[in-house]
């Protein structure tokens, strides 16, 4: 979301980002009603605005959410609280672009001006779970019905949406996430020793297999290190396992870091290892190549699409397996042909043409402002979930 604003806002006369952030808590029904009411009272009196990237204005809107809410209910919370933040006036923008269909698309749908052009970007890895909920599916259908276009970030997502909503096929197209290729790496990678993982420490990211694979490779080369950037349910068990495997002195848990810090770390490491089970796009992989590092990544949906035609130049793609073997074998293959067998400069160039800020901004601007009269101000309102 942050990258999208940074890429697209400079082409607009004015851009406002409504960042509706779900604040989840364990409450009773009665307490939940109290919280909703309290937040509706507070919002008009609270300072919520600050400048953000790309010259846009950010309006931060916490949405109190009862733990365990369905996607439909979550969307309703967002709709109601955004309404309170707007003091029941519509979003003052000729273009409204929501980041994900539910909950943001649903909230924006109810508060966009009737004459506003309406767009949605979808990148949720859990979209199948959203669509499995009957109420949420109906809401998604209504969002699509109002949409001028929905941008799926990858082919897998587009197919899922087309299968669910064949009657909206014409509105669903692919526009990828934008990635910054601005900051070059000071020194090129010469050895694949400093491994980096960026993502949630959760089973879906395959991070438990990564640690096992690292321990096996570390036994061959004790100069290897592994930095894990992110947090998640597996954090404690991974720390314990690192001690059991005798690699705790070479594994660094960095916790959650800001996007800028993650990019800085990429420029300081040698290899991104991303053994995810499922990715709709694989933004981290493109960011890593933009930061000048090769990648060792699973064929988990998005990455093989993103790296199509430059697989060997960018690093090594490996199958999704519930073991460490494919990661270890992939690392050994990559190490054997590195550096001559990869061409990061070419990979970077190819990806920049597809996913760089100018390319993705062009795709957005041509959709947003196409067939808008020349004298109409280019003024989008972006409604997003977590940045």
């Amino acid at each position: 979301m942050r990258a999208m604003v940074e890429a697209t806002a400079p082409g607009c006369d004015q851009a406002t980002v409504y960042h509706c952030d779900a604040w989840v808590s364990r409450t009773t029904r009665y307490e939940d009603e109290l919280l909703q009411q309290a937040q509706k009272t507070l919002l008009p009196r609270a300072n919520t605005t600050c400048p953000t990237v790309g010259g846009a204005t950010l309006r931060y809107i916490p949405v109190p959410v009862q733990r365990g809410s369905s996607f439909a209910r979550l969307s309703e919370y967002h709709r109601a609280i955004l309404g309170a933040a707007l003091a029941k006036k519509p979003i003052d923008a000729s273009v409204v672009h929501a980041h994900v269909g539910l909950p943001s698309g649903w909230a924006a749908l109810h508060h966009a001006r009737p004459d506003a052009r309406f767009f949605v970007t979808e990148h949720a890895t859990f979209l199948d779970r959203i669509l499995a909920e009957p109420d949420a599916r109906i809401m998604y259908d209504k969002v699509l019905h109002r949409c001028d276009a929905l941008f799926a970030v990858g082919e897998g997502l587009r197919q899922l949406l087309i299968e669910a909503f064949p009657h909206h096929r014409d509105r669903i197209r692919i526009v990828p996430n934008p990635i910054s290729f601005e900051i070059p790496r000071p020194e090129p990678v010469t050895q694949l020793r400093r491994w980096l993982f960026v993502g949630g420490l959760i089973p879906r990211k395959g991070v438990q297999w990564l640690l096992e694979a690292f321990a096996e490779c570390y036994a061959d080369d004790p100069k290897l290190t592994l930095s894990l950037v992110g947090e998640g349910a597996l954090a404690d068990s991974l720390k314990e396992r690192a001690v059991e495997l005798g690699v705790d002195q070479a594994v660094f848990f960095r916790g959650a870091v800001s996007p800028d810090e993650a990019l800085r770390l990429m420029r300081e490491h040698d290899l991104l290892v991303h053994p995810s089970r499922l990715e709709t796009f694989g933004m981290t992989i493109v960011e890593a190549i933009a930061a000048g590092m090769p990648v060792l990544v699973t064929r988990c949906g998005g990455p093989e699409e993103t790296l199509a035609g430059i697989e060997k130049e960018a690093g090594e793609l490996i199958p999704v397996e519930d073991n460490a073997d494919s990661i270890v074998a992939g690392y050994r293959r990559l190490r054997a042909r590195f550096p001559d067998g990869v061409d990061l400069e070419r990979a970077r160039r190819v990806l920049a043409e597809k996913y760089g800020y100018p390319a993705v901004a062009r795709a957005h601007h041509s959709a947003w402002f196409l067939s808008v009269p020349n004298d109409a101000p280019a003024k989008p309102g972006l409604v997003g979930g977590a940045i």
């Binding site: 989840v24 808590s25 309290a38 937040q39 300072n47 916490p62 109190p64």
Partner: protein, 180 residues
């Protein structure tokens, strides 16, 4: 800047600690209101932060004292009496288990909602008495959802006093800007 953080739900602890440190680094003063110190046991407040445990102060209220007596002190006291001599270790485990599995749950699910519903003004009175009296804040940072009703009461308190309330925000990053 003098900042009052309402962190009664303890669900966004990291944000509170980071933002409190941010205010302190700029030479400001920070008071953090929490509901229970135990929810923060794994966190370290930056030095210079005044932490006020409202939950502890609330325990001085008679209904809370009665609840503590009925739900904690009497059952645990009985178990202690029974568990003398060789049964001491067994009693210690039974008390621990009773507190975690029964008393804490009943407190959370029955007494706490009842308390919030029937004596909803009590917490506001405590905040007024122990935190606001004689102190003026530039900004109130509402840090989690459970703090929202208390933030509303705080605004009413200032309205009743007829004084300009502090700025209300959800992040200190927004604190210096005018209301949107």
């Amino acid at each position: 800047m003098k900042a009052l953080f309402l962190a009664l739900g303890a669900t966004r602890r990291r944000a509170v600690l980071e933002e409190a440190a941010q205010v302190l680094a700029k030479g400001g003063r920070v008071v953090v209101l929490i509901d229970s110190l135990s929810a923060w046991h794994s966190e370290f407040f930056p030095s210079g932060v005044d932490v006020v445990d409202i939950g502890k102060l609330e325990q001085r209220h008679l209904p809370r004292k009665l609840e503590a007596l009925v739900l904690y002190r009497i059952p645990c006291g009985l178990l202690q009496v029974i568990g003398r001599g060789p049964l001491r270790e067994l009693a210690r485990r039974a008390i621990k288990s009773y507190r975690r599995r029964i008393a804490d749950r009943v407190h959370r699910r029955l007494f706490l909602p009842l308390y919030r519903r029937v004596w909803s003004q009590k917490r506001a009175q405590i905040i007024e008495r122990y935190v606001l009296r004689g102190v003026s804040f530039d900004v109130v940072v509402v840090s989690d959802p459970l703090s929202m009703p208390d933030a509303v009461r705080l605004l009413h308190y200032y309205e009743q006093l007829g004084v300009t309330p502090p700025k209300v925000t959800y992040s200190v990053d927004h604190a210096t800007l005018v209301s949107s």
